[in-house]
């Protein structure tokens, strides 16, 4: 069993003993099983799934760091994270559209602005994707 904990600056999102965790990292999706080698990696926006007693617990994450410690402890520090069932699709959609519009109309003075908008769009797309996928499964 893995001791799994995911935190954001707004608090602990999920904390439990799980069998395995699938995480989107910048170098591709990885699944962490018990006895994994100590690892530090960077997350990208996407879908994170933990398996608890065979049941998937889905979350959307947007950037962050995963640390796999030597004794099967997995800690994730995410910039934002949300349980799939808590995602408000309409709001996510609206936020994405807003960001895309800003992207179109604005002559970007700085690369930072551009990067931030890009990140927002990616984050919202990840949220929408995760929410849609898991909502369908529940029904």
């Amino acid at each position: 069993m893995l001791t799994f904990k995911i935190v954001t600056p707004d608090g602990v999102i999920y904390e439990d003993k799980v069998e395995k965790v699938t995480v989107p990292t910048t170098s591709g999706e990885i699944t962490v099983l018990p006895k994994h080698v100590p690892l530090v990696s960077v997350l990208k926006a996407g879908e994170l799934v933990a398996y608890k007693d065979g049941n998937p617990v889905a979350m959307s994450v947007a950037g962050g760091v995963i640390e796999v410690q030597p004794d099967d402890k997995i800690y994730i520090m995410a910039d934002t994270a949300e349980r799939a069932e808590h995602i408000d699709i309409e709001r996510a959609e609206a936020a994405r559209q807003r960001a895309e519009e800003m992207m179109k109309q604005k002559e970007h003075e700085t690369d930072v602005d551009f990067a931030r908008l890009q990140a927002t769009i990616e984050r919202e797309m990840a949220r929408i994707r995760v929410a849609k996928k898991w909502r369908k499964l529940e029904k």
Partner: protein, 324 residues
């Protein structure tokens, strides 16, 4: 005596009004406190985790490669001083001020870098101190103590100002990398309980696993004890054992600035939780004092009233006796 009753009555009225205000402020602070304490506690897990991760990684890297880890001999030091915007919060501001002034008086000690092998990097000559204030009160402190103030942010209230804190930390990082400052510390108030808050000083840059405050607390004592203890004390975090994906360099470049942001954000939240708690306590004490005062004044008023009645009766009785 009869002259007095009116004055006492006015006094009671004004104290009652003051009590109403302090009571209202107490309630407002209590509500704000609940919110800010919650966000401080929420972020604490994240910040602790970030610091632990840093401690695990601190042995790994070739420090010279990353700007944020550079331990240059200190010529310029920046202190980010977190105070409140408004007063009426008890000893909150004076506590943090005392702490900051004490640290800056020992500025040579403050500006030393302690390296792993108990070696020190001594400051280079006279250390110049700059202060970056968060909260209006920090400005007057810097002025009073004669330190150069490089800026004051007075629009940061707590958890909703994440973006602003991030931009401060970006600016500080930029300054540090450009060599304008060789060390950055943050003076903030650590929230322990609603009754106790402790002013602390923490090193922000260069990133170091050592707890600066403990270091300063142990002035002249064994400096090795100031290393942040890894949770269960065992040294299972053999630095070389970690796998980095995609690469050590890209990960550290990604994580290090984030660590600084989180530390600063956490300090702001802790300070804001402490401020509201301190204000709530101060206002509660004020309300209690006002209530006591009103009771006392009521007593005096009644006595004065009674005395004047007695006196009038005595005068009437005396007058009647004189007629007989």
């Amino acid at each position: 005596m009869a002259v007095n009753t009116k004055a006492i009555k006015n006094r009671i009225k004004s104290v009652t009004n003051t009590k109403k205000i302090t009571k209202a402020m107490e309630l407002v602070s209590a509500a704000k406190m609940r919110k800010s304490v919650e966000s401080a506690l929420n972020t604490r897990t994240y910040a602790t985790m970030a610091r632990d991760l840093m401690a695990h990684l601190s042995g790994v890297e070739d420090k010279t490669k990353y700007g944020l880890l550079a331990t240059r001999p200190v010529k310029n030091i920046l202190m980010i001083l977190i105070s409140s915007n408004r007063g009426l919060c008890g000893s909150f501001n004076s506590n943090i001020a005392r702490k900051a002034v004490f640290a800056l008086q020992n500025k040579n000690e403050l500006s030393k870098h302690i390296l792993d092998s108990n070696k020190e990097v001594a400051p280079a000559g006279e250390v110049k101190v700059n202060i970056l204030g968060i909260g209006k009160r920090s400005a007057s402190l810097a002025k009073r103590e004669g330190y150069e103030l490089v800026g004051v942010y007075n629009d940061i209230e707590g958890s909703k100002d994440y973006e602003k804190v991030i931009s401060i930390s970006r600016n500080v990082i930029k300054d540090f990398e450009a060599g304008n400052y060789d060390k950055v510390v943050v003076a903030y108030t650590d929230y322990k309980t609603s009754l106790t808050q402790e002013p602390r000083i923490r090193q922000l840059l260069p990133i170091s696993p050592r707890d600066l405050d403990e270091m300063l607390g142990n002035l002249g004592k064994n400096k090795n004890s100031a290393v942040v203890k890894i949770k269960d004390g065992t040294n299972k975090f053999d630095a070389g054992g970690y796998l980095f994906e995609p690469s050590e360099e890209s990960i550290l470049k990604n994580i290090l600035p984030k660590l600084v942001e989180v530390q600063l954000y956490q300090s702001v939240l802790e300070s804001s939780a402490s401020e509201h708690s301190a204000r709530m306590m101060a206002m509660r004490n004020a309300s209690d004092a006002a209530r006591d005062m009103i009771n006392e004044l009521n007593l005096t008023f009644n006595k004065a009233r009674q005395a004047s009645i007695t006196q009038e009766i005595a005068e009437i009785a005396g007058g009647a006796a004189a007629l007989e």
